[in-house]
Symmetry: C2
Subunit: 477 residues, 2 copies
């Protein structure tokens, strides 16, 4: 449906935009009612909110391409959105943007068990990818705590990990191919169900690019045969530093559990109250899980508990049943939610080299005391991906700002010891101005040149990832 | 040392270039003697040769930066070179280029066993990376057959794999960080000894970029604890198709050996004559290796040999000693050399989905018969990375061209079944014009925009990777 030019001219920017979108999408795919768009004003980083001009919910790659082409031609910024579970403001709207949500694109397009891949539309949730193949004995490995809700689109945008990524890698290690729509509406195909790809590996740079380069509408994902069995063991210690040393010793010994998760006392208490998993009440808890046949599990746990005993554990208990294992993981995966029921908090996502764990935990404690704030720790210890939760009272003026300052100090500490700002949540709006702590000007410039190449007008997911001053000047140029 | 402008003006292009290079490098780092530059006129794809204008062998990242900045300002193309073992012409000079070799940059810069990484200059050979940590019980996993000679620089450029990459992944899975010099002399730092990195993952796009984007001078590599033990088993079958089905069944069963290598009769005979490994004389041989404790090895081999027995093997023998294991691997790793002693050949490097293995082997046989040529197969079957060797007589006019045509048909077949042109050798000059068989115009355009972003003048490693007509017009633009 083309609109007569005279009509279009008199409409204001928003009305013109919505009319244009309605001309290329079915009626129910465009949301401009102010009350309805409010559902999209933030993601899981709820401290930041901004309603968009409009929301579109396309149902196919070609509809996504039509929306992007139109917005490109009109100079309208677009913020792609998966399930809106970003903890870093990765899907935060700007006031002049269109939200492009892939929530209605959830189909399984192809399943190939022989070649061990599944091709899905990226609005599909993480857990339902496994759901589509588990009866055949397969699973999709990356398992963010939000896996019941989060979409593959967001997993790819943030290169999401999860508790079991110590063994199986993060999203980039499990993503084989992608269909990507660029800002000008061009559709490109990257990778496929085969090893490597000739030429430049754009799949790698798309993964983790936080919607800066394109909108991923279809993904080919590696699926793995489910292991025969798995068993977690709980190890309690009387200090975080000792738990950190134990993690280092397990890794150094060349043992590769599927997961090594860490919780300190505030988290243990909150999660235990929530999940009744039988967590010991101690300063620091490790959940170490191994996989395989019963004999393999026994052999691995023997080696692991022998290492733990050298660190004088106050508790050491293997899960005795499938129900107990499920409760142990339910507790861990609800940690953020359980903490949220008793506190306001900011969740950080820095990574560090494993060997630095004990020292970094000590220094986080020192920093928190300096600010007069409490920090609870719960994270993927095995691969050095930390999630310190900074607790504060949102109703007390100035507390949020103080908590943010402490968060920035902790992330700078991660960078200082050879780690980085974000393991899996992304930079988003939250850490954009810390990027200059991580990167030299030349490093950032190289990244931004790639952004230039994919999105010369800087219309896609604006005001994120790159320091605000820098990206604003880039966009104006 | 600045040269007076009047003097420079009268020198011809080559003399001016060499004088400029001598002004920024020590005398022995610049080679312009015609006889000496001839050593650099080709790489391991010896069918293509072209002497460069000059060769430089810098000793540091800053010397590399000075060379690139100078060549950038002068508009001189630069061809980076590791050890020159490329099988795809990845280091082939152009007549107007400077070869920039990193062979003198071989230092170990940092070893951190706790955090399991080593930082090296990229001229260091693959095998000597393991050499630097093996006394401590560690190793570097990617193991190209040329590992005694090939440099880490080339491994990164080609995203090299090797026999044991089925379990440990290829270079991109083992590269944690890199120092990269861009064509204009800018030095950037990518990744590091930590999980993930915020912002755009340029490390992923640098790996496998065949020297198109920058020169990698330092690399942070993941090192792994050596397994307790390893044992190969030899499995002989009376047809390639049956061997291919056996590979599929092993992978489908969810067993992950460290390596599954395939050889057909012509390769078996050549390798046996070379290494005396006790290979059975049969149509198709699989070498399957597993790792772990003796008990773990026994358990895995029991499952694997049970699968093999269902395919009526004509031979099935576990290695009985470390010496025998070494001979078995020596035979496999010398396959290209052993074949080269009795035939001229072209070595292909296509990848396919594992499930397609039996059908593709049959169709390769059909194609070869159609051309009246013989094809010998030796490859990493477990991850679908094929290396068909097309045998021909280089002294017979027209045979090379016929062999190249057959090679192109086989690679198109790989793409047709959902695979790709190159698993680990790279595109180089060899497959540049087949890239349009793999990629749609939009896909290639996206890759070339990234090239534009890093090397706007298209001076770095010219005439490679992208179809010649396309890259020539890009360079002129």
């Amino acid at each position: 449906m083309e609109m007569p030019i005279a009509d279009v001219r008199v409409l204001n920017r928003r009305e013109r935009l919505v009319a244009g979108l309605r001309a290329i999408l079915p009626g129910d795919a465009v949301i401009d009612d102010v009350a309805e768009t409010r559902a999209y004003e933030c993601d899981a980083l709820t401290a930041y909110r901004c309603p968009p001009m409009a929301v579109v919910l396309p149902r196919s790659t070609s509809e996504v391409a039509a929306v992007l082409r139109f917005c490109h031609d009109e100079g309208v910024p677009v913020v792609p959105r998966g399930a809106g579970t970003s903890l870093a403001g990765g899907a935060l709207p700007t006031a002049d943007c269109v939200i492009l949500g892939v929530a209605r694109m959830t189909e399984v397009l192809e399943t190939d068990l022989d070649n061990r891949f599944i091709r899905v539309e990226t609005g599909r949730t993480n857990l339902s990818v496994t759901g589509a193949v588990e009866e055949d004995g397969f699973f999709y490995a990356p398992d963010p705590s939000s896996q019941l809700a989060c979409a593959i689109a967001g997993n790819i945008a943030m290169n999401s990990g999860g508790a079991h990524c110590l063994k199986y890698g993060v999203t980039t290690n499990n993503l084989l191919g992608a269909t990507v729509v660029l800002m000008d509406g061009t559709v490109i195909t990257l990778g496929g169900a085969h090893l490597d790809a000739p030429g430049l590996d754009l799949l790698g740079v798309i993964c983790g690019s936080e919607g800066q380069l394109g909108v991923v509408t279809e993904a080919t994902l590696r699926i793995l045969p489910k292991p025969e069995g798995a068993r977690p063991v709980l190890m309690g210690f009387d200090s975080s530093e000792v738990a950190g040393e134990c993690v280092g010793d397990i890794i150094r010994a060349g043992i590769l559990p599927v997961a090594i998760e860490f919780m300190d006392r505030p988290c243990i208490r909150a999660c235990e109250a929530f999940a009744h998993a039988g967590y010991p009440d101690c300063e620091a808890l490790l959940i170490v899980e191994v996989e395989g046949s019963d004999a393999e599990i026994d052999a691995q746990l023997e080696a692991i508990t022998a290492i733990a005993r050298r660190h004088n554990p106050v508790a050491l208990r293997e899960s005795g049943s499938a129900e107990e294992s499920a409760a142990i993981w339910k507790g861990r995966k609800s940690a953020f939610g359980a903490m949220g029921q008793i506190n306001d908090y900011i969740c950080l996502d820095g990574t560090i080299p494993i060997g630095e764990l004990p020292g970094v935990l000590r220094r986080i404690g020192d920093l928190a005391r300096g600010y007069g704030l409490e920090v609870a720790n719960v994270f993927h210890a095995g691969d050095g991906n930390m999630h310190p939760l900074i607790l504060f009272n949102a109703n007390q003026p100035g507390e949020l700002e103080k908590a943010e300052d402490l968060g920035a100090d902790i992330l700078r500490l991660c960078v200082e010891v050879g780690g980085c700002l974000s393991g899996e949540h992304g930079v988003g709006v939250e850490k954009r101005d810390l990027m200059t702590d991580q990167y030299a000007a030349e490093d950032l410039e190289a990244q931004m040149r790639v952004k230039d190449a994919f999105d010369p007008k800087w219309l896609l997911n604006p005001a994120k990832v790159f320091p605000l001053a820098v990206s604003a000047s880039r966009r104006a140029a």
